[in-house]
């Protein structure tokens, strides 16, 4: 690929921000599995597997799955953030595959937040 200029950098930023706004596109929900060493050590990969299996068995085409690093509160891992169009992100804590399955079926597919597994809503404030 050709060398980037400062202008290209801005274009990538705009394009990537557009893509990140999954709300406007075909994706309705974004699931972020936090896979730092802490998340992986406490079983985060199994959670990711569960999400993928659920997507497959539900034939869900409007769900975007991504991974990210440590969110900071390692003692509550595995953590998953679910963002659905039009509502605040919800962070689920201390997950296992069974909980993840319930969250996927009830929250992601039916829109009912599974309060008993929730740690918090929203995003951390920057600066």
């Amino acid at each position: 690929m050709a060398k980037l200029t400062v202008e290209d950098l801005k274009k990538i930023k705009e394009r990537a921000q557009r893509e990140d706004q999954f709300r406007s596109g075909e994706k309705r929900t974004k699931i972020t599995v936090h896979l730092g060493t802490c998340g992986i050590a406490s079983g985060g990969k199994k959670i990711l597997d569960t999400v993928m299996q659920e997507i497959e068995s539900a034939s869900a085409t409007d769900v975007l799955v991504t991974t990210s690093g440590c969110i900071g509160i390692c003692s509550r891992e595995p953590l998953v953030t679910i963002e659905t169009s039009g509502s605040e992100p919800i962070v689920y804590e201390l997950l296992n595959p069974a909980k993840m399955q319930q969250i996927f079926r009830r929250h992601v597919l039916e829109g009912a937040v599974q309060t008993e597994f929730v740690m918090a809503r929203g995003k951390e404030q920057e600066r």
Partner: protein
């Protein structure tokens, strides 16, 4: 139609019916009739209310009071109090369990609310392996600004203005370091990143590299531009496979975009960065040892001066900064040095990342503004000590640091203030210890670490740490002698004064700081042959409290030494001469009759 002043709904779902729901309903009808309230109050057989776990459930309208786990024996009281006197029976009322209350916002949770993110700004938000996601959140904008709009001198001045100090532990002003190297003469210069995080319990750098590797690369590009380096190395320990993988991915993506390589962003500046894997020796976190290691030599420190800014890697001018330091740099370029300097205290600017571990509820990675009291980190962000235990000390700065007791817990995060209480900022390991921690044992642990990691080049560190460890181990085994404390102090100061590098010079710190605050614990070990925390097994004795022992013989049957004796239903006794202090008896006893002390 008849109007009732109150309706009593008795849940008629299967769950509640199976728990005598019908009997309760009949009893309520009978009680209402006996009180002559049959015309005022109606008892209803309602459908399942859905909260079967709290059944049998009774709800009284018009107030809608929800009574749970309702029993026949509660009928008279509820009719008398609630229906006749109008006073709901609180004892039976439903209390929402934790977690079903309104979901708190991230910023309302003390753990997140008290943090301020600069180095960790992208944590949990981006995919570390996708450069576009980093760019979407202002990634490489700081580098673009520095490389295309600022001169190298201006970059250094901006860094000086920010007041950023080395986050690896030394706390040397980053702008000054870059300035020295910028002015140093040399055809080739190197920009280096220290990712050889080795303090026990520290994982700040690893987390940054795993979550946001591009932030570190961008910081290095800016620093490289400032000093005129064409080549960069990231020295990362091989024990960090995930960090290494994500760094590799990040470097390749940056090269593909031309953010590394020739003529970056059309600025005319060129830089390439490579990873050098270390074998995980603690001493290689020391800057000159790290450079020796990259050169292919044994990881041993070199005497300074000459300083690396003049003669660093391969005797060329070099700048070495820590991962967290670099992660701050793009933000400083983007928002200006003044913005960064507006955060923090007089001499310590910006934020600091801490790895919070040990006996604390919220183990994790936190970033707080300088000036935050240590108390806030442990008790608000960390959530305090679990299992109802008391706080004893916080170990700050790893093997080079010290322990901060309760009396100094209001100290603020600031390089100079922390030194005053006998610890150091260090790279950000913060280990919380509860009342069950023996401070002599803790000091021995850190001394063992330093002794093990000592490279052996200079005598004070090689021999001194070994002798200090021997004395500490002797004390924990109950063989401490009069004069040991004084000997430890003498050795500690001798090592501090004469060791070659930072590792040796600071190795005695954990001993000195525990002696400063917990001297009586050392004395208890040496003179009274007691370990107040009950950790040093050689000094502890298991004893059976005759008043509590019921003579069940359970402990005697489990004891591997067969050293517990006693008649059935009579108090038992432990033969201390045979006891190996395995603790099986204490775990076995159901009556709490066995104590360790």
């Amino acid at each position: 139609m008849k109007v009732f002043r109150a309706h009593i709904l008795v849940c008629g779902g299967t769950g509640c019916k199976s728990m005598k729901g019908d009997e309760i309903r009949q009893a309520l009808i009978k009680e209402v009739a006996e009180k002559g309230l049959a015309d005022e109050v109606r008892v209803v057989d309602a459908g399942c209310m859905g909260y079967c776990a709290a059944g049998p459930v009774v709800v009284i309208y018009p107030e809608g009071t929800f009574y749970q786990k309702f029993q026949v024996s509660d009928v008279a009281e509820v009719i008398e109090e609630h229906i006749v006197k109008g006073r709901p029976v609180e004892r039976l009322m439903y209390v929402p369990p934790e977690g079903t209350a309104a979901i708190p916002h991230m910023k309302d949770i003390p753990f997140f609310g008290k943090q301020q993110l600069i180095a960790l700004k992208n944590r949990g938000l981006i995919d570390a392996e996708k450069i576009d996601e980093y760019i979407a959140r202002d990634g490489y904008q700081g580098a673009a600004k520095a490389l295309t709009e600022m001169s190298a001198v201006e970059v250094v001045n901006e860094m000086k203005k920010s007041g950023l100090r080395g986050r690896g532990g030394g706390g040397f002003p980053t702008g000054n370091k870059w300035d020295f190297c910028q002015k140093a003469e040399g055809d080739v210069k190197y920009i280096l990143c220290n990712a050889d995080e080795g303090d026990p319990g520290a994982f700040m750098d690893r987390s940054i590299l795993e979550a946001d590797p591009h932030a570190v690369l961008e910081g290095m590009i800016i620093a490289g531009y400032a000093i005129g380096a064409t080549k960069g190395y990231i020295y990362c320990r091989a024990e960090y496979p995930l960090a290494l993988r994500r760094l590799n991915v990040a470097i390749n993506q940056a090269r593909e975009y031309g953010l590394l390589g020739e003529n970056i962003l059309g600025s005319g500046y060129s830089l390439d960065i490579e990873i050098y894997q270390g074998a995980g020796a603690f001493v290689c976190g020391e800057e000159t040892a790290l450079m020796n290691s990259i050169e292919g030599k044994r990881g041993m420190p070199r005497p300074r001066p000459p300083f690396p800014a003049h003669k660093g890697l391969w005797q060329k001018p070099s700048v070495l900064n820590n991962v967290e330091t670099y992660a701050n740099v793009p933000q400083i370029m983007l928002n200006g040095g003044d913005w960064y300097a507006s955060i923090g205290t007089e001499r310590s600017k910006g934020t600091k990342v801490f790895a919070l571990t040990g006996d604390v509820k919220n183990v994790g990675l936190v970033e707080v503004p300088m000036g935050t009291p240590i108390r806030d980190i442990i008790f608000d962000i960390g959530g305090g000590i679990p299992n109802g235990k008391q706080f004893k000390a916080a170990q700050l700065g790893g093997p080079s640091g010290g322990c901060i007791p309760m009396s100094a817990v209001d100290t603020i995060i600031d390089y100079e203030e922390i030194i005053k209480v006998g610890a150091i900022m260090g790279s950000g390991g913060l280990i919380v210890m509860d009342e069950d921690t023996c401070m002599v044992d803790t000091a021995a642990f850190f001394m063992e670490f330093c002794q093990d990691e000592s490279c052996g080049k200079c005598t004070p560190c090689r021999e001194g740490t070994k002798r200090m460890l021997e004395i500490l181990r002797r004390i924990t085994k109950g063989q401490g002698r009069d004069g040991d404390i004084e000997l430890l102090e003498e050795l500690a100061y001798a090592i501090k004064d004469s060791a070659l590098c930072g590792l040796g010079q600071t190795a005695p710190n954990p001993v000195l700081s525990t002696l400063r605050y917990f001297r009586e614990e050392y004395e208890a070990h040496i003179y009274n042959k007691k370990c107040p925390a009950g950790i040093c097994k050689a000094l502890a004795q298991y004893t059976i409290d005759a008043a509590k022992c019921v003579g069940c013989t359970a402990c005697a049957r489990k004891c591997p030494q067969g050293c517990i004796s006693g008649e059935k239903k009579e108090p038992h006794v432990i033969d201390q001469s045979k006891c190996v202090k395995c603790g099986v008896c204490m775990d076995t006893c159901k009556f709490g009759a066995i104590a360790l002390g």
